[in-house]
Symmetry: C2
Subunit: 341 residues, 2 copies
Amino acid sequence: MNLKELSRHLNLSPTTVSRALNGYPEVSETTRARVQAAARAMNYRPNARARGLATGRTQAIAHVIPVSRRHQMVNPIFGDFIAGAGETYARAGYDMVLSIVDDVRQDRVYRDIHARGTVDGIIVSAPAMRDPRIALLNGLGLPFVVHGRATEETAPYSWLDTNNSRSFRRATDFLLDLGHRRIALINGLEDMDFAWRRRRGFEAALIARGLAPDPRLMRAEDMTEVYGFRSARDMLRQAEPPTAFLVSSVISAIGVRRAIHDAGLDMGRDVSVITHDDDLGAFKNDQDVPIFTATRSSVRSAGERVAEMLLQLIRDPGCGPLTEMMEAELIIGASTGPAPQ
Amino acid sequence: MNLKELSRHLNLSPTTVSRALNGYPEVSETTRARVQAAARAMNYRPNARARGLATGRTQAIAHVIPVSRRHQMVNPIFGDFIAGAGETYARAGYDMVLSIVDDVRQDRVYRDIHARGTVDGIIVSAPAMRDPRIALLNGLGLPFVVHGRATEETAPYSWLDTNNSRSFRRATDFLLDLGHRRIALINGLEDMDFAWRRRRGFEAALIARGLAPDPRLMRAEDMTEVYGFRSARDMLRQAEPPTAFLVSSVISAIGVRRAIHDAGLDMGRDVSVITHDDDLGAFKNDQDVPIFTATRSSVRSAGERVAEMLLQLIRDPGCGPLTEMMEAELIIGASTGPAPQ
DNA sequence: GTCTGTGTCCAAAGCGCTTTGGCTATTGTG
DNA sequence: CACAATAGCCAAAGCGCTTTGGACACAGAC
């Protein structure tokens, strides 16, 4: 069922039918009602490609999601992030097109997306500290919003980020207040901007108390469970083991907890753990007393917000770079306690 | 840069340029080379919408991924599944368009996708036992492949599935051989076909040894960590607690492990655990001695295969319903041992 | 009675591509 | 040498929609 058939069936011109359905005023309310009824009855839906060609808009958003070259892995937080964004798109009548891509060919993918004109805007995920994508997209003139920031990028761009340095500084302060002095950082890959900021917050808190960050207590890798496990296991075997861990993801924190148990220790008493908690649907940390003390910031609602920002940017391209900072909550759970003597 | 501009720049007609780029024989090899060089130099890429309109093909595949109404959660295995499929699409020059959708409006989404003509084919995820989507899609005549099966659907359709009943039967037999008699099943939602098959395999193994499945030892919910935790915690408090758990997902198995530890018990000695392992990138269970004894089947390669099947179906619509069964491996890890006396 | 407005509708162009159906040289064949 | 075949190119139609620029009828105003 296409427009021509529908209009023939109604004894109207395609023009009138199109205007009736798209809410233009040049059509009487009685015929509009007639057209709408027929469209519904015949299950008519305008062809997306044709409409896109005619209007220049595609009603679609691209998400380019990088896959770790080391682990061939898509970060599990993307599921929740995508869910939040996808829901927003669905409400607004937009499609979401996904490109899974290893970092190597990134810029080609962005150029392609632009040249082929498949979408009206792009969400950029997991920015690095110096991220060439931002300059590239600014140059292409395609609306985009970055989830996170790229510290070394000076040109203006739209972003939404959580205050990673502040939350990790607070978490570190919390551990310091409990008397911990040997605190380990199990971080994400530090070419990622968020991971770098977290380290900065961590180090700043230590330095403010006259403590020197100890490289033997800092790791930065893809945030898998085994990564958390191995890092904690190895550190707990050191001559001067840490009494607390600050972890960048619940998933790695689970590995840390396993290492603590395997070492015959008790999490929350012998060893404290604070993790960042993206509030993933599959890993809710929100029981009466949460398992983990955590800096919590829902990545799902980040997805929603970032999508809303992009849609706004598309509707009104002049509305300038939009920026938004989310603060993480510090949630006290069962995984922290005073430093053992 | 569009075709007209490019052809003007080359002093050729759009026709010739199009044919040159698309490999038609009616153009001399020298001009073809000239055209290709210019296209590359000017970074020309045919507009996807226009090409789609002209050819009737969109070079895009839809994935409709359901979100749990209970937990507002996207199953974390989708990340890996999507990664596998996405990689295959990328290689074949296809886009992937994602719809996140709660089960209620499912059929409307499929109808929309078809009517708006945004894609050449659809992947159906997480089929229920009686799943109306299959009849619907068969009716619409849009190529599709189901990841999983719908037991009660009799019409032919293309699917790829893992042998869930067999693998859970084997896992149960393995526990029975170790002397376990009170085995708990921590399953996924049993309106999902795969969960139902797993239960069948589990029960068949018990019955074959003259044991009756005990409803107090069987749960079926969204496979979160806390679900695994709570189920195991409650069961271990029962008068006759289970000595072994069979779990449908590594994520819930992590919760089960936590409950075992919290109860002061030792996993692998006091209580055994076998989990299904989708081989998720973030939860690799493949160390020297895997943490969990598991039925392993990579959901990432399932994504790859299912995408390949759909592309084949699109290339050659006559190639009939394609079906493929993957067998899960039974991996022996540290989480199982003989039943305590 | 003419003129201007206004409310309703429509014909046709155009979005950027592919594809059908020529057209013109050039080559091969008897 | 005439004719057919072929190689190489192009004009134009068409995919399904939106949108520009009227057309027409009827109303009210002078």
